[in-house]
């Protein structure tokens, strides 16, 4: 935590408008020019249960993680205090609803400020509006000028009429004035941010996935609702139809995945999005995509497993399933975006790779990245390219003898050009049985071996390329200690690196592509290191297992596990490295 930052959290029972309270502040702060990360903690029930929304904001640099500590807590109930008081720094402020007698084991280390949040809302005749009272109270404490909130209230409610706008402003003012009057001495103005020239984006990983897919030319999404992936379905449903795309809620994930395969076969870039339980149901379909050489993009927003596990908590424990799941052996690509905006870029990448190599591509996100938001300046549209891979042309088919097209031709690269239904003389039957070059079922030994080799040969160019984009390294050459993570843990590891004082003997490897594995880029770092600290958000150390398999150095591995449903904190990583 630097002096250019601050943290704020609101908590209460689910269904009390906690998210909307958080969203208001997140939007206002982003507009004012703060870089923020907004983190939602919630449970798998609709009403009741504790939920909270935390914001970490900085005036001068992008924030990728919600931070280990907390300076201001707005508590709608006592549970919120009980659940979050350990996170509070010395001198932190708790604004709590005056409807309950608040207590904290932190005693005098923190300030309790009772504000009649519910009472004000009730007096205004609308109990839900207590979120605006809370925003007003927070606004004063943080020293943020009310005009910033008025602007947001008008943007949000303006269309619904002046009455609603005034009601919200009124609620805001009551919270603001009450705190000013009773706790004015506790005000701690936050560092001032300067408004950016161009309004910044505030996006979740799921939104980046939806947007990325749309710009990547995906035109069909078939999916089955599941936390934490459902928001992808929502966003795509709201936007894809504008571009002739279709969205279908399937009867289950087997159907969803296989519909996407059918649509890809017919020539439309198509995908499915899910979480662990759904991915398990897609395993047979994964092999179907593989052996029939039909492109497929699956997004897995991981959550705590196994089975139903922890539906609303984060984990990175589907790695092995993504790498090795499904019976038999099939080439595949597994990509783990390393930040919220990388979700956008990796969707572009995923669709191009799926069609270029005619394989299933699994994009491994997780709840931490998928459902939380951060603000950043912009997305780079120049990185959007569409490469449909090798497709035979109608002219080429016309030149061939009738029926001579070989969909599964044994080419040198292993990649055989595709045809699409509707193309004359391009007929083939895509097959889940082993087959010969035209697609007829076979069991003969040399052809079986040739087709297996062909399918695995396809990835050989990618096996080279992936060393360039499949992993990021920061730190000195020949670092003694290497921190390794994949996907979303980039944020906390990078921050841990800073806290380790930019130590000259520590390096950070963050994997973006797990299959094919960027061996050549990773090996030299592990070779030179004495200690490899693997930050593995699971119980069994799946990333460490992969490193051992692909590179070796079993004896250097020092795994930091976490599987309690919460993301790593920076201090956990720092103390593990130091310890």
């Amino acid at each position: 935590m630097t002096t250019n930052e601050f943290t704020w959290k609101v908590g209460g029972a689910q269904g009390e408008g906690i998210d909307s309270t958080g969203e208001i502040l997140a939007t206002v702060l982003t507009r004012m020019g703060y870089y923020i990360f907004a983190y939602r903690h919630f449970m798998s029930l609709v009403k009741g249960g504790h939920t909270n929304y935390k914001i970490r904001a900085s005036t001068d640099r992008e924030v990728k993680y919600h931070g280990d500590t907390l300076e201001m807590l707005v508590a709608f109930d006592q549970t919120t205090i009980d659940e979050n008081e350990d996170e509070l720094v010395e001198g932190a402020v708790i604004i709590h609803d005056a409807k309950f007698q608040a207590s904290t084991k932190r005693g005098g280390a923190v300030h309790l400020c009772a504000v009649p949040l519910s009472q004000f809302a009730k007096d205004l005749g609308n109990s839900i509006i207590k979120n605006m009272v809370a925003a007003g109270a927070s606004s004063y404490m943080l020293g943020i000028d009310p005009s910033n909130f008025y602007e947001q209230i008008e943007a949000q409610f303006g269309k619904k009429g002046a009455e609603l706008v005034n009601l919200n402003k009124n609620a805001f003012d009551q919270g603001y004035n009450y705190v000013k009057e009773h706790y004015g001495n506790l005000q701690k103005p936050v560092p001032v941010a300067s408004k950016p020239e161009k309004a910044r984006l505030l996006m979740s990983g799921n939104e980046c996935i939806g947007l990325g897919a749309t710009l990547a030319g995906c035109r069909i999404l078939a999916a089955y609702p599941i936390t934490p992936a459902t928001e992808i379905l929502y966003w795509v449903l709201a936007n894809l139809p504008k571009f002739g795309g279709k969205v279908l809620q399937a009867e289950d994930e087997i159907a969803a995945c296989i519909m996407a395969i059918g649509a890809n076969f017919a020539g439309v870039r198509s995908m499915t999005s899910t979480s662990g339980p759904g991915l398990s149901l897609m395993m047979e379909a994964l092999g179907m995509s593989g052996i029939s050489e039909t492109p497929l993009v699956i997004v897995d927003v991981q959550r705590g497993g196994p089975s139903t596990g922890l539906p609303t908590k984060t984990e990175q424990s589907d790695l092995y399933e993504a790498l090795y799941g499904s019976h038999g052996e099939t080439p595949r690509i597994v990509i783990a975006p390393t930040s919220i905006e990388d979700c956008f870029y990796q969707m572009i990448n995923a669709f191009n790779l799926a069609e270029r190599y005619q394989v299933p591509v699994i994009v491994l996100s997780d709840l931490l990245m998928g459902m939380n938001k951060r603000s950043f300046p912009d997305l780079d549209l120049s990185r959007v390219t569409i490469d449909r891979g090798e497709v035979v042309t109608q002219a080429q088919l016309d030149e061939m003898e009738k029926g001579a097209f070989k969909r599964y031709a044994l080419t040198e690269s292993g990649i055989s050009p595709r045809s699409f239904p509707g193309m004359k003389n391009g007929r083939y039957c895509a097959l889940t049985n082993e087959h010969e070059e035209t697609g007829l079922e076979i069991e003969d030994v040399p052809m079986r071996e040739a087709q297996m080799k062909k399918r695995f040969r396809k990835l050989s160019t990618l096996e080279r390329d992936v060393n360039e984009w499949g992993v990021d390294y920061s730190g000195p050459d020949g670092a003694e200690t290497i921190l390794v993570g994949f996907g979303s843990t980039e944020a906390q590891i990078a921050e841990a690196m800073e806290q380790l004082g930019g130590a000259t003997n520590v390096g950070h490897l963050q994997l973006r592509c797990l299959m094919p594995f960027p061996k050549d880029a990773v090996r030299p770092h592990l070779e030179k290191a004495q200690r490899v600290v693997v930050v593995d958000n699971n119980y069994t150390g799946q990333l460490a297992g992969l490193l051992c398999k692909e590179i070796g150095f079993h004896d250097k591995m020092d795994v930091l596990h976490k599987y309690n449903g919460n993301p790593f904190t920076v201090s956990e990583i720092v103390s593990h490295v130091k310890g």
């Binding site: 894809l240 289950d252 296989i258 017919a266 509707g422 004359k424 007929r427 039957c429 895509a430 097959l431």
Partner: protein, 287 residues
């Protein structure tokens, strides 16, 4: 104009006398009769003896997984509604492992034709009980006779919202052709359940057995396939051993009612999004 030869591909490997030969032949003849070109047809099949049909049929094909012909076929049609899409497979494939998809395909009304080669037995896996095996049928997995009630695909289709339900018999090629043609011309999901005898593993439901028991409702005077309740009644009265176009209704197909429905196939929509539209998408997130 395409000919029968255009709709043939490779020699079928079924046992001599297998009912599936007639289904393949009927399908080929109907495609020719309808003036379809093989590149505009896709035959998607499941796994089983019957599932081999996509390999022997001269159109584009997808020989998928056991029980998964319907999601694949619906995916193909979602991608390109301008194609004629046929899903095909066995009774185990469609009413056992794939029955969940079957019910939802009926509801969804994607414009495809589903042909089930119903031999009341698992053929490819050499003779186990199937969901449509009759009660008491002794098979390898029901040595004392099947104890479960047989699944009733026709009634299930109707109550699930199928907009075209028919039944044919491999021993009646002409009627089967007419039914398949009507099914393919029907807009929406059409089921053609075909009694397609397995001459190797089902010694109970033979050609003779079917001939003896089938009631042809196409020839029944006054039979009105738009009368849902009468259809249910007649199917029940014949204990499902009837043939003909049993039920049909006009309903919008999926590609017509889906949010963002397009005039032409999804595959024909441009992938390029103009810079202005792309900026518009991104601006949703600007604060």
């Amino acid at each position: 104009m395409a000919t029968m030869a255009d709709f043939r591909y490779d020699k079928a490997t079924w046992c001599p006398g297998c009912g599936d030969f007639s289904v393949l032949a009927a399908l080929q003849q109907v495609c020719v009769r309808m003036g379809l070109e093989p590149e505009d047809v896709v035959c998607v099949s499941g796994i089983g003896c019957s599932g081999k049909i996509s390999q022997h049929f001269g159109s584009y094909g997808f020989h998928t997984l056991h029980g998964r012909s319907l999601p694949t076929a619906q995916g193909v049609k979602m991608a390109n509604q301008d194609l004629t899409v046929i899903a095909a497979g066995g009774d185990g494939d469609g009413y056992g492992i794939g029955v969940g998809h079957f019910i939802h395909a009926c509801r969804r009304n994607v414009d495809i034709t589903y042909i089930v080669m119903d031999n009341h037995i698992y053929g490819l896996t050499t003779g186990q009980a199937s969901p449509t095996s009759k009660k008491g049928h002794k098979t390898k997995t029901s040595p004392a006779g099947v104890g479960e009630e047989p699944l009733k695909p026709l009634e299930l289709a109707i109550v699930s919202g199928a907009s075209f339900v028919a039944q044919a018999f491999s021993g009646e090629l002409k009627q089967m052709q007419n039914i398949i043609e009507a099914a393919m011309k029907h807009k929406g999901f059409s089921l053609v359940n075909v009694f397609s005898p397995c001459v190797t593993f089902n010694r109970v439901n033979t050609y003779e057995w079917f001939k003896e028991h089938i009631v042809n409702l196409d020839e029944e005077e006054g039979y009105d396939p738009t009368d849902k309740y009468n259809a249910m009644k007649r199917i029940a009265e014949t204990e499902s051993v009837c043939t003909g176009i049993l039920y049909r209704e006009e309903r919008p197909a999926w590609h017509e009612y889906v949010l963002g429905a397009t005039e032409t196939g999804t595959v024909k929509q441009t992938l390029d999004i103009t810079p202005a539209d792309a900026a518009g998408l991104i601006d949703q997130f600007r604060r």
